[in-house]
Subunit: 392 residues, 2 copies
């Protein structure tokens, strides 16, 4: 809040976000027997604690685990060794996060006593990648953790030599509730103060790193971009939201929706920066078919920054997703995520990994977007939609 | 030992090496106060345990710490933030290791309650670099640890904002003695079985990594190279030594010297691979002035492997150093160490970091050296020298 005020925002306030609290206390794993050695891993968010010893059964991908007969992993440790592929748009995270989120429950159905996965990442460091997992209703949760890449490799080599028994010891779990805050700053519109262009990022981060790329960058980019255009007296209000608790399940975005869904029509368009601080290379919007003129103006101004118009390639990012299910128009300013999954949800997410030149380009692109969206003659198609229970 | 036998070595035996045992149990650090956050560090080998809270005083290099007035650090935590430079020959490790080995004692003379250093490494990972430190006789040891690079950066940024108090909590220390073994394999010479060409590496490694580059690579290169030339029936005996406990202070090399110094003259020449598994680019020997013909033959055979003769640039590596002080001739086959200090003594020292093609070149270069040294008509100048007490 002091930083918003220091940057000259006209209004600054907070809105509460309450969520269950998951804590990591300690995490260890060890190969047992002849080749005894430690394995570096990190508990998945939402994992229960517990110590499990069992023979490891490796699956090359999620489909292979799904194909295992029910009960076939009784007393075993399931290990999904999927190698996530590097890509500018990070699209293979769909597979990596699917294994992380849904893998443990599938393993439970097969009888597994614990779940291990090769980290959902693209690096080769000893810094394993955490992230939230969800247990299906009705299953008894099991310890679930992600191995660092070299440790997944080592475990695979040991399994090639013969049966390999591992001890996984996690001390972690849910522990009460916490109330955090969405922190919101506004630059009041000079002509249409009731119409809002929303940008933002999220405040929370996973504990092994410092959260520089996920998502201090997004918060900083948004705050700086709006502050840059304030002297131009934008016609619409620019609202920057630093969302609380994105990581455990979009709590901040959902709390924002609960508080503001009635005002969807006033949210002219929104964009969130939650994919690191690589150069922004692409632009898209839900209004691509209805508001071609206004979007073309934005695209024209983004082009000198190296940003290409890529209709159909974007999505609303993380926290603004909830409001888009209620009819809010969105824009996408796509960061180059080639290196994002080297640093995502692991200890390597630190400030030195951000390229200041790329960060400056990010701020410039957001400043262009937010200013031209605030000045546009028409809207971008935001209109209330009924709540869809399934979207929750 | 089974691997030596499997590779067809003619004799395999062990020789005991006894040393004090240092154990790492846990290590934590935390910035206190307004900007509280964890710092990733690792205790230096030989550090005592203990919990210290104090204001941090930063020094840009070792000279700056040395220049601080005696007593000026009373109750403080000394922090030497020297940035080690990357180099093919790794020569800036002289500075990095000097800070690590001698820094804590200098800090004690200034009154410091604990010692922190930026890791002696060239990476930007969260994997801090450990390594042995030595406390001068008569000083009371203080907790001593190395920060990961991003954590040293962060601490430096916090110090720029104002006084920064840190808690360092190490649980580690000396705990009894252990007896390990130098493991030795020989291919008996066909013509001069009493004359020995010695190559080797060391068996031990620091605990955060797996020791793939430091120094499983050296042991593997040596064992493979000698096994490769066995079918050629080399004239001299080739002895491969996998030394115990190099890391705590060359214990294996000194034990070897204690057992074999009387036979220095029989050790025709020795080389050790203890600088990773980067391509070997340079060749040198203590016999460069006396045995030009024999060395030129070796250099000629090494040239097609990309190895250059670099008189005056080499040194005897680690464990063979003790025997060279007693008059043993040495050769140097210099690995490209450009990336070595990204991986040295930290968690990133894992097998995936070794390039199989470079490793194959290493084995080829050692095979050439060991074979031609075994076949050479003359010796390489080994001759007994009196023990030099200072060298111990």
């Amino acid at each position: 809040m002091p930083k918003f005020k220091q940057l000259g925002y006209d209004k600054v306030w907070t809105e509460p976000v309450t969520f269950p609290k998951w804590e990591r206390r300690s995490e260890h794993a060890q190969v047992l027997g002849k080749y005894t050695q430690p394995l570096v891993l990190t508990a998945l968010g939402g994992s229960p604690g517990g110590t499990v010893e069992g023979d490891v059964v490796r699956f090359a991908d999620f489909d292979a685990l799904k194909a295992a007969p029910d009960g076939s992993l009784a007393g075993k440790i399931a290990f999904v060794d999927y190698h996530m592929k590097r890509a500018r748009d990070g699209d293979d995270y769909a597979n990596g996060s699917d294994i992380r989120v849904a893998g443990p429950s599938v393993a439970i159905h097969k009888g597994a006593a614990a779940f291990l996965m090769r980290s959902a990442g693209t690096d080769s460091s000893r810094a394993p990648h955490t992230g939230i997992t969800h247990f299906e209703k009705g299953v008894a949760p099991i310890p679930a953790a992600a191995l660092a890449m070299p440790d997944a490799d080592q475990l695979t080599r040991l399994l090639a030599l013969g049966a390999t028994r591992v001890r996984v010891a996690l001390d972690c779990g849910w522990n009460g509730e916490y109330t955090s805050q969405n922190v919101i700053g506004e630059i009041t519109g000079s002509a249409k103060p009731d119409e809002i262009v929303l940008i933002g990022g999220h405040l929370d981060s996973w504990d092994p790193g410092t959260g520089a790329i996920d998502d201090a960058a997004g918060v900083g980019i948004s705050m700086a971009a709006a502050a840059l255009v304030k002297p131009l007296h934008p016609r619409r209000t620019i609202r920057v939201v630093a969302f609380a608790n994105e990581e455990q399940g979009l709590y901040g975005g959902r709390a924002y929706m609960d508080a503001h869904a009635k005002d969807v029509a006033k949210h002219v368009i929104a964009a969130e920066s939650d994919f690191g601080a690589g150069r922004i290379y692409g632009f898209d919007s839900s209004a691509r078919d209805s508001e071609k003129v206004a979007l073309a103006q934005i695209a024209l101004a983004l082009a000198p920054l190296g940003v290409e118009s890529l209709p159909g390639q974007g999505d609303p990012e993380s926290d603004i997703g909830a409001m888009t299910t209620r009819g809010m128009a969105w824009a996408w300013l796509g960061h180059d995520g080639s290196n994002y999954f080297d640093l995502h949800h692991n200890a390597e997410d630190t400030l030195d990994k951000i390229d200041p030149k790329a960060l400056a380009q990010n701020v410039a692109a957001y400043a262009v977007f937010v200013y031209l969206a605030a000045q546009a003659d028409g809207g971008f198609g935001s209109a209330p939609k009924a709540a869809d229970a399934a979207a929750r």
